[in-house]
């Protein structure tokens, strides 16, 4: 019973995250979904990853989103999607149903394997994964540093400080718009 509530709640939070137009609200709904998913993890017996998901997904990522949205600012222009919504909905639901038909029902063996504790599994058996994670984190740090670096030459500094101009979108903004032969110039 609890599981059903958690499942429904997570899906509702996710739907809201996509539907809502204010970005900060979207990030908060994502945090909600994260929290519910982490409770699910805990109920299934995966306690450590529940803590990780809660602190990282609902905490760190949400704070990150809120800060970034604050810096980047909100855009008031987004409305119509580029693909027809019914098409997207149909494809997605069809894939989900097919996948469900292929995988469910799952028989729960439930008998736990004699296993090493979590720390041993993570650091010894999956040690390569941890190494990859470290490399990934460093790569991410370098990437972000590179992205947010100060301008190196005066021209670049001037380019960054110039006002971002108005974005002129094409009139014929219907579905599956192909790039026009004469594209708009966006001056940075």
């Amino acid at each position: 019973m609890l599981y059903i509530c958690l499942a429904v709640g997570a899906i509702v939070c996710a739907i809201q995250a996509i539907r809502v137009s204010r970005l900060v609200a979207s990030a908060l709904w994502l945090a909600g979904a994260s929290a519910l998913v982490s409770i699910t993890f805990y109920m299934m017996g995966a306690q450590q990853v529940a803590v990780i998901e809660l602190s990282v997904g609902a905490g760190l990522v949400t704070v990150l989103f809120v800060f970034a949205i604050g810096i980047a600012g909100e855009d008031a222009l987004d409305a119509r999607s580029l693909l027809p919504r019914p098409l997207a909905l149909g494809l997605v639901i069809l894939s989900s149903l097919l996948l469900g038909w292929l995988t469910l029902p799952v028989i729960d063996i439930g008998v736990p394997h004699p296993e090493l504790p979590f720390a041993s599994v993570l650091w010894q058996q999956r040690g390569l994964d941890v190494l990859v994670q470290v490399v990934l984190i460093f790569a991410g740090i370098l990437g972000v540093l590179g992205l947010l670096a100060e301008a190196e030459t005066p021209e670049e500094a001037r380019a960054v400080e110039r006002e971002p101009a108005e974005v002129t979108l094409p009139e014929r903004d219907d579905e599956l718009a192909m790039p026009e032969p004469t594209p708009e110039r966006i001056h940075a």
């Binding site: 580029l82 494809l91 894939s95 097919l98 292929l102 599956l176």
Partner: protein
């Protein structure tokens, strides 16, 4: 120990490429030193593999179930071609130090050349078909990038694209064969395939065999896939020497030689190989005869000599073909680098504007003549011994008409070789070009290669022994060096071939008296200049490919959502297939 050497042979050039790129174009001196250093060390490591040749797999890299293991084996053909790739590669790099002096983007050049050397070494040392295909495609990419190195020149770019398209189409034959082998035998290992080839159903084996001929013919520029090689002469000359004489085109011959035990019993395979080799040898020789571009003559002669090697495999003389491969690599690299020295000095490739350069460039003339004599097949140079072995084997085991064709080809080879040497070095000076002799770095490479041309035939015995000891499934006809030379000298085929070559020489010397003959042959000459219609066909194929690509550009809208739609659509299709199969 051998495992480390193999890793170094493949890895050192790649490391060198990375370091040259990283050093940056502002320090060309450092780039030159690094490139030469890495390639020479790689050559030494490849030579160090010689004592370790065996047919046992020495290096296994497990990469997970679906790809099998990535294995490397250091057997005879592999080590020999790796040595050729790295040693001649290092000589071409040394040559480039002078040839590319002052050129821009040196880092890109050296990085690509070193990547290419490493990939070729990997290609011949691997025992996994999938890894073979992987290295095959890397060499195709490197050859495209190096041919189109001067990417402001539309001819160079179109030559590069042509090479890429033709060799990639050939690569499809290789991939299809590899996948079919895996489907039936469950393994990508070459050794497994060679041992179990008879267990495959006949139609599959036929398809694989002819697919491999396709791949080899495209890579080694055999008829009808030869059109990319002459146009690839837009590359800088050391690149031409490396790719088109010493390494890449050898991959096709290597493929046929390596897989010979599996395919020799396929009906019609040997005949097809003989036909391909014969056609290439003859047609290319004729085209070389009418060409006025020095590098094109060498390109056509490469196609022709590769035809000899392919023909040798077709008649079952794998040792003769590999021996000719060894000789050809050395003397063809010598000829190309010599031509490079000439071009660098004179600035034009048209032989009609050269002439009398022998007086101004004595060193280059000397080495070029050595290479030319080897190409024509005159004793005691290495070309003579290996070509005679090929012709002998052809006379003994192959069809008579093919043998006569190859013999004629030998005569025509002599003819166009002497014509080229005459027009460049001996005739009356046509233009007023000031030519300086080759600078120091070029001389090093040219000198080493000419020494090689004079001496590699002495290795016939040990070379044969190397091959025979490490290829358990091939039947090779090997003898110690002295007996090989004795056999060649005393064979009647040799006398015949010498006569034909002498005839070729005489035809050139008497060309003024024989002018009426050349008027008679003007029709065929025009056909030869037009590449016998293959060029037209090739242009059709390329325009078709590029036209299809242009039409398909519509699907690349650049919109993120459109791309995700593609992903979701593919997901749906895969799920549907799985559901239907469940």
């Amino acid at each position: 120990m051998a495992a480390w050497f193999i890793l170094l042979t493949v890895g050192l050039p790649w490391l060198g490429g990375l370091s040259v790129w990283w050093v940056g174009d502002k320090r060309p001196g450092a780039q030159n030193t690094l490139a030469v250093g890495f390639s020479v060390v790689a050559g030494l490591v490849a030579l160090a593999l010689l004592p370790f040749t065996s047919d046992a797999v020495v290096l296994r890299l497990p990469v997970g179930g679906v790809f099998g293991e990535f294995t490397f084996v250091s057997d005879g053909p592999g080590v020999f071609l790796a040595i050729i790739a790295t040693v001649i590669g290092s000589l071409a790099v040394i040559f480039s130090v002078d040839y590319m002096r002052g050129e821009a983007q040196l880092g890109r050049y050296y990085a690509l050349v070193l990547l290419f050397i490493g990939a070729m070494a990997g290609l011949v040392l691997t025992a996994s078909l999938l890894l073979l295909f992987f290295f095959w495609e890397i060499t195709a990419f490197c050859s495209y990038a190096l041919i189109a190195f001067d990417n402001d020149d539309p001819k160079a770019v179109s030559g590069g694209i042509k090479a890429l398209i033709v060799t990639s189409l050939g690569g499809i034959g290789l991939l299809a064969g590899a996948l079919a082998i895996h489907a039936h035998l469950g393994s990508y290992q070459i050794g497994v395939f060679l041992a179990e080839a008879h267990r495959l159903p006949p139609t599959t084996l036929n398809l694989i065999a002819f697919g491999f001929i396709l791949a080899a013919a495209a890579k080694s520029a055999q008829v009808p896939f030869h059109t990319w090689l002459p146009d690839a002469m837009e590359a800088p000359t050391p690149v031409s020497a490396l790719i088109h004489a010493a390494t890449m085109v050898n991959a096709g011959v290597y493929l046929l030689a390596r897989f010979y035990p599996a395919f020799e019993s396929v009906p019609g395979w040997k005949m097809a190989v003989v036909a391909v080799g014969l056609l290439s040898a003859l047609l290319a020789a004729l085209m070389a005869l009418v060409s006025n571009d020095l590098k094109r003559v060498l390109a056509y002669s490469t196609i022709s000599q590769l035809g000899y090697m392919v023909y040798a495999i077709g008649v079952g003389a794998v040792f003769a073909s590999q021996f000719h491969l060894l000789s050809h690599s050395v003397f063809k690299a010598l000829l190309f680098l010599g031509a490079g020295a000439v071009l660098h000095a004179v600035g034009t490739r048209d032989m009609r504007e050269m002439g009398g350069l022998g007086r101004q460039m004595p060193f280059v003339r000397a080495v070029f003549v050595i290479g030319a004599l080897a190409l024509a097949g005159l004793p005691p140079l290495n070309g003579f011994w290996s070509k005679e072995l090929v012709l002998e084997a052809g006379q003994a085991n192959g069809p008579e008409w093919a043998y006569l064709g190859m013999l004629t080809g030998a005569g025509i080879t002599a003819l166009y070789t002497f014509r080229a040497v005459w027009m460049v070095f001996y005739a009356e000076p046509r233009g007023d070009r000031h030519a300086h002799d080759a600078p120091a770095a070029m001389r090093v490479s040219l000198g080493v290669l000419s020494l090689g041309t004079l001496s590699t035939w002495l290795l016939a015995g040990p070379f044969g022994h190397l091959l025979a000891a490490s290829l358990p499934l091939h039947t090779l006809h090997v003898l110690p060096t002295f007996e090989v030379t004795a056999e060649v000298i005393t064979a009647p085929a040799t006398i015949v071939a010498m006569a034909v070559i002498a005839l070729g020489l005489l035809l050139w010397l008497w060309r003024d008296w024989l002018a009426w003959l050349s008027n008679l042959l003007r029709g065929p000459a025009r056909a030869a200049t037009g590449d016998f219609g293959f060029e037209w066909l090739n242009r059709r194929v390329i325009s078709l490919t590029q036209g299809t690509a242009t039409v398909l550009q519509i699907t690349q809208t650049g919109q993120l959502n459109w791309n995700v739609l593609g992903i979701v659509g593919a997901l749906l299709i895969i799920l549907a297939i799985m559901a239907w199969g469940a």
